[in-house]
């Protein structure tokens, strides 16, 4: 997988800080899972978190806290320190691990719902407190999404197939990190359908005429 389009650096900084809402964080993680460059960048940015932790104003722990914590260590006494965490080994092909948790199977097992000619969607589960929504879109080859802008933050990660717009060609692993001023007219240019993961702010605030027109579609 050759990745050309990465998240905006501001998005990576927010991801490292932990301040992206869950839908966005899951999508960015799904990209990082297959992007060595972003993984290396993440390691660098996390050092900022460490530096800030060193300078944050310390708040004294209560006198009993150390003893309490030390007594709890016994409960973990037999947990070997070098143990490697269990992993989700059985990730279906083409499904990044952070996304696999939200799916019952692979991309072929999704219960798609047609929302427009050539466009089907599937809304992924989110926790109650989530302020972002994750949606999977399957767009048929040759489908043109009308020219539109975006309200609020919106990230798209291509999982299968590809599309092309004024910003370039987006294939598997590529992220489109568009700000609210970006306008485009994506066209699916792969022989197979383009399946992508889209994170939007919830409730989605679509702006303008095309935005309202696209509301039922959501995404790219």
């Amino acid at each position: 997988m050759t990745i050309v389009h990465h998240p905006d650096n501001a998005t990576l900084v927010s991801y490292a800080a932990g301040s992206l809402d869950e839908g966005f964080a899951t999508l960015v993680a799904a990209h990082i899972a297959s992007c060595d460059a972003c993984r290396a960048a993440l390691n660098e940015i996390e050092v900022v978190g460490g530096a800030l932790l060193d300078t944050v104003e310390a708040s004294p722990m209560s006198p009993s806290s150390l003893d309490r914590t030390l007594s709890l260590l016994d409960e973990h006494a037999d947990a070997p320190a070098e143990r490697v965490e269990p992993r989700a080994k059985d990730t279906p092909p083409g499904v990044p691990r952070p996304l696999a948790r939200l799916l019952k199977g692979g991309l072929d097992d999704i219960a798609w719902k047609t929302v427009a000619p050539g466009v089907a969607k599937h809304v992924l589960p989110a926790s109650k407190t989530a302020r972002s929504r994750l949606t999977l879109l399957r767009i048929a080859p040759g489908t043109k999404i009308p020219d539109h802008g975006h309200g609020g933050m919106e990230l798209t990660l291509v999982l299968e197939g590809s599309y092309r717009d004024v910003f370039g060609r987006f294939g598997p692993g590529d992220i489109a990190d568009l700000d609210e001023h970006a306008e485009h007219q994506p066209v699916v240019d792969s022989p197979e359908a383009c399946i992508c993961l889209v994170a939007t702010e919830a409730p989605t605030r679509f702006k303008g005429f095309f935005g309202r027109l696209l509301q039922p579609i959501v995404g790219i």
């Binding site: 900084v13 927010s14 060595d36 290396a40 660098e44 996390e46 978190g49 530096a51 060193d54 996304l99």
Partner: protein
Amino acid sequence: MNAAQPLVSCPEDNLDDRALVARVARHRDREAFQRLFLHFGPRIKGLMIRSGSDADTAEDLAQEVMLTLWRKAGLYAPERGTVSAWVFTIARNVRIDRLRRQSSRPYEDIADLQLEAPGASGEEETEMRQRERLVGQALADLPAEQRRVVELSFVEDMPQAEIATALGLPLGTVKSRMRLAYAKLRERLETVK
């Protein structure tokens, strides 16, 4: 503060963070853990308070972070980052788990992947120490407005849109300040490459 006697950390603790974590990992060394606790506990508590927790919750979260450090000490990879950065990531993940109850675990998934590729960004330990120092310097040298945006993200746990509202700035300005801060950091780090 009440009459409770505060615990203090000894100043040279962070000199051998790495050695302490290694002792916890290899020998389940409680004394080493205690020193890490005294150094990081109050800082993590401070971080949790800054991101909106009340003092009791913050202390509870700090304890949870330290227990996680005890359990996962063997997973700390020095070539990938400083102990402080690692502790920050544990605190970040605990903060997310506890306060938001996510339906996914993106950070854990990525950490697991990094375990599968040990030393992917392998570096000499001295280089890592230098890197730590440079990042600290770069942060201190940032223009106040850029540093503020970075702090609000990492310490106060504020999403970009919230930062924009809090500072009365357009979202685009918040983003560009974050980009600029990151670019300066990169520039500084390039000097060790």
